[in-house]
Symmetry: D2
Subunit: 152 residues, 4 copies
């Protein structure tokens, strides 16, 4: 049943933000603050605010921080599509191509769901620095979705 | 020098087709006929015509054929951008996500170059069946580009 | 139940070869003949016999043929582990790194299952030319496994 | 010339550790302490010591931390092979498969160089928790190597 109804959960950005804070409070540690800017319609846009802790000597965001932001963005896009039933979704594959050294600034991840099926979701992610159009990295991610609850 | 001038080689679809036939005649064997539909502007669109030889019992295109079409499309997009200087480019990485079983029909690959630098080119490829908008596969590919010729 | 019993199906190389011929007769077309050399114990070794049809002008195996052999090998390793219950397994991701131009000769794929769970199997594949130890390519592949049959 | 001589730089684990501390002091922030346990012979073994900061509520290491350790390990293996000439090497691709939820404990990455050429290095990485043999993740990474210095 769930499979046919899950286009658009109606979860707002505020509701998704609250869900993330409730279930993953540790996400805001160890990197710049994560913010959901948009979600729904088969995608999401998330931002990592610049933070001295995440800067390399050259002043750029590290690979693990790009991974974190991309992974966060895909999870948010899945939640926006499937609702809280998908909280148990887990990353099974992440492929990242690093394209150019990011300039200092907030990092933005633009997520597009390529597929969201019964068991797997696949998304692509374009990462760029705020106010700079060039891609700094591109990722594709696969999530395993929790089995749908059985109707009694 | 080449790095600053290579946006747009001016090679037409006809010229690219002739180049491929001259250098890779064997590409047209073992699968449906490959056709370049568009190239340039940082991308390409290529088509694999349906052929009984490439059909699985269920009537769909096999994974290796999708790989072949995606690889062909990225190579064409690089040639359109860099010209014949890039004929020696070689695939170093191909990551494919298979999203749905393709229906019978011609297979189309839409290629977008994410980066074309001095040494590496990275592209993403969306594969779908002609007249059906849904993606059947998505790929990212990296090519190593030949070192630029030294000016004497 | 199946999950706890599926280490070792007892399918022999001969039985696996017969299964492949019955279910995928088209696999033997369009490339060098595929042969299962060993299977079981969490892996497999498969061979693609040299064939003029698969040779590029330089005399080497093409990328799509390496893809085909790697994909075949992973499928065989899964069947050896899970038995005929896994015939419906489908490739969801294949990531290939091309390392060196293969010399002429039979191509061998050595497959190792990294994980075989309830829903997903992940394997790595090392490809080399017969009698040459150097890797020509390396792949990781993910297969979605069919849901286990429900006990009535 | 350098290409033929660079098997084995003779850099010891102590020298590699000092190099990392000098050039990447920020690596030790934001995660458990990184330690080089072995390096050379075409590979490396590195450890991320357990740290409360990197634990998720369930007590396990996060994806970005696994990424960080894998990336660190590959870089160390390249340095051990190529010496300080490779300090400018940069990650261009990282593909990670997440296989099982890690138990609490130090995380170990075992790195094997699949290829180290003139321009690219490719490695595979097996991640497991100390004292537990099962893989928690597997990665393949590509680094672009700095062009060799020209002989005058």
């Amino acid at each position: 049943m769930a499979e046919h109804e899950d286009k658009g959960t109606g979860l707002s950005v505020g509701q998704l933000t609250a869900l993330m804070e409730e279930h993953f409070p540790q996400l805001q540690e160890g990197s710049g603050r994560l913010e959901i800017e948009a979600a729904g319609g088969g995608g999401a846009r998330v931002r990592m605010h610049q933070d001295v802790r995440m800067l390399r000597p050259g002043g750029t965001v590290s690979g693990p921080m790009m991974f974190k932001l991309a992974d966060f963005g895909v999870y948010v896009a899945i939640l926006a599509d499937r609702g809280t039933a998908a909280l148990q979704a887990v990353t099974t594959n992440m492929t990242m191509n690093f394209l150019s050294r990011p300039a200092p600034g907030d990092l933005i991840a633009q997520v597009k769901l390529l597929k969201i099926g019964r068991r797997l979701a696949v998304a692509e992610v374009a990462l760029h620095v705020s106010d700079a159009p060039d891609l700094v990295a591109h990722a594709t991610a696969t999530y395993a979705l929790p089995p749908p609850a059985r109707t009694p």
